[in-house]
């Protein structure tokens, strides 16, 4: 789940998991409204980015009580992740650092093996090596116990390889829902002297431009054809696949009213801002 600060990523996750109440539209999880639906909510785990715990509880006490909420809880995963992050079991929750609170949230989320696991900017406060631990553990858990994991992040390129599908929010609505590979194919990057770039791009839509002296980097909507590559070779231009970050950044600048990457996914969520959502595993 991608989008600028304040577009509604956390709110959407809160709505889906019944933490807040919707004021309109419809939310279905496994075909039912999740609000106060015990059987559905038991299949969810959503530790908020700013999750508040009972101050008097230690990490160990929190981890001793959470298994009772989840029938598929993995003590092995919990122990392994706690060890990897070096979480202090005897420390009270109010004494945890920002990074330790994120590590605790990751531990609970992964060990819960909840069918719908929400991770709300789970990397906050984690340094690069700790984030690497998180990505490794996330992939390991997913490989061993596949389930729906919904991750909100601003570190798009860092997490891009983890994602199968991207939901891009804009102004509280779903701007794009797309397969990540399709999103990557939805634009490409051309880099060279401005005149050469303009000649190759022609009439095609340029999503973003960056200049460094005489060099222009242009993110162009669409896929680069064989002719493009041949022309680029002749003119010594560089053509690269645009990163997901560049695609999302471009969306932040351009309204996606006609060329959404989700166009050929067999549904039109990419084209319509929607207040309805449905989640099934």
């Amino acid at each position: 789940m991608l989008g600028a600060n304040g577009v509604g990523k956390t709110t959407l996750m809160s709505l889906i998991s019944g933490h807040t109440f919707r004021t309109g539209g419809q939310i279905l999880v496994d075909g039912v409204d999740p609000v106060e639906h015990a059987a559905v909510l038991q299949r969810m785990c959503f530790i908020h980015e700013d999750q508040r715990y009972n101050d008097v509880l230690t990490v160990g006490q929190i981890l001793s009580v959470t298994p009772s909420f989840y029938p598929d809880w993995s003590a092995e995963t919990a122990d392994r992740v706690v060890e990897a992050f070096r979480l202090p079991r005897g420390t009270r929750s109010k004494k945890l650092s920002r990074g330790q609170r994120s590590a605790l949230a990751i531990t609970i989320s992964l060990a819960s093996r909840a069918a719908y696991t929400f991770l709300d900017e789970p990397y906050l406060g984690l340094d690069a090596s700790a984030r690497s631990i998180f990505y490794d553990e996330l992939l390991r858990e997913y490989a061993e116990h596949p389930r729906t994991i919904i991750l909100s992040t601003h570190l798009i390129d860092e997490a891009a390889d983890l994602m199968e599908e991207a939901l891009i929010l804009e102004d509280g609505t779903v701007a794009v829902q797309t397969d990540v590979d399709e999103a990557r194919r939805a634009s490409f990057l051309v880099r060279c002297r401005e005149a050469d770039v303009r000649a190759l791009v022609g009439e095609r839509e340029v999503l973003t431009e960056r200049r460094l002296g005489a060099i222009l980097s242009a993110t162009v909507r669409g896929q680069a054809s064989a002719e493009d590559h041949a022309a680029a070779d002749r003119a010594h231009l560089s053509i690269e696949a645009a990163t997901l970050q560049e695609f999302v950044a471009a969306i932040g600048i351009h309204s996606l009213d006609s060329h959404e990457a989700g166009h050929d996914r067999g549904h039109d969520r990419g084209h319509h801002r929607t207040h309805d959502s449905e989640l099934t595993s």
């Binding site: 530790i47 999750q51 009972n54």
Partner: protein
């Protein structure tokens, strides 16, 4: 009930906080009572004389020491545990039921604790020096059933009052918590005015029900606070 039990475990996760500290408070209250009695004994001699021993029957320490801490326990349980429970996939309904079961356990533990205190107090002939912490009029002058019931219901009332405030704070914020506190204060003032205005009937009622009158009122208030916290809890968001 299956879905409520994890919430009960969440409430009991730190037993020092949810169960043992209230017992410690009773023990500290007893210790303070014994120390004060011993200090009095410096002037009167120990054990203290019968007239002072009689006056000590009105020691309300066992009543006063309970509400403060338990109101905070109730408020924190409903406030902090709420967001944890929902994060872990609980419904609001099951969170409330599980936490309320925890309140019952805390209250029954305190009730049993007061009985143990009463038993020890009698066994030691009031802690060897005439000190009275549990064998007192506010707890029924040594009546076992009344001592247990008074302590338990007072604990329940404190916990559910705290739960009501904690839930209102969670659902509506600080302003409405203040409004609720002022509203309850006005209700109590109104009730007090009613008692004064109908004093002769109240005296008759006291004659009929005796010490159980206040207990019944406390039980009704606890039920009202519980119902209020349940209703507001269903509206609370994380």
């Amino acid at each position: 009930m299956t879905h409520a039990l994890p919430n009960l475990r969440l409430y009991l996760a730190n037993r020092t906080w949810s169960v043992l500290t209230p017992i410690y408070i009773l023990a500290i209250m007893t210790g303070i009572t014994v120390v004060i009695t011993a200090i009095i004994g410096i002037a009167t001699g120990l054990p203290i004389p019968d007239d002072i021993r009689h006056d000590m029957r009105f020691n309300g320490g066992a009543i006063y020491c309970i509400p403060g801490f338990l109101i905070s326990v109730g408020a924190l349980a409903m406030n902090r545990n709420f967001s944890m429970a929902l994060a872990l996939g609980s419904t609001r309904r099951h969170f409330w039921i599980g936490t309320a079961l925890g309140f019952v356990i805390t209250s029954l533990t305190l009730g049993v604790g007061s009985l143990v205190g009463l038993g020890l107090e009698r066994l030691t002939n009031h802690w060897f020096i005439g000190a009275r912490a549990f064998d007192v009029t506010p707890l029924g002058d040594g009546d076992v059933v009344q001592t247990f019931t008074t302590t338990t219901i007072l604990a329940l009332l404190s916990l559910f009052l705290g739960a009501l405030f904690g839930t209102v704070f969670r659902a509506f914020g600080a302003v409405w918590t203040t409004v609720t506190a002022i509203g309850l204060g006005l209700l109590l003032a109104g009730a007090a005015a009613l008692v004064v205005a109908s004093w002769s009937e109240v005296v008759t009622l006291i004659g009929t029900l005796g010490p159980w009158l206040l207990l019944n009122i406390a039980a009704v208030l606890a039920l009202l606070a519980a119902a209020g916290s349940y209703v507001v809890n269903r509206l609370a968001t994380v």
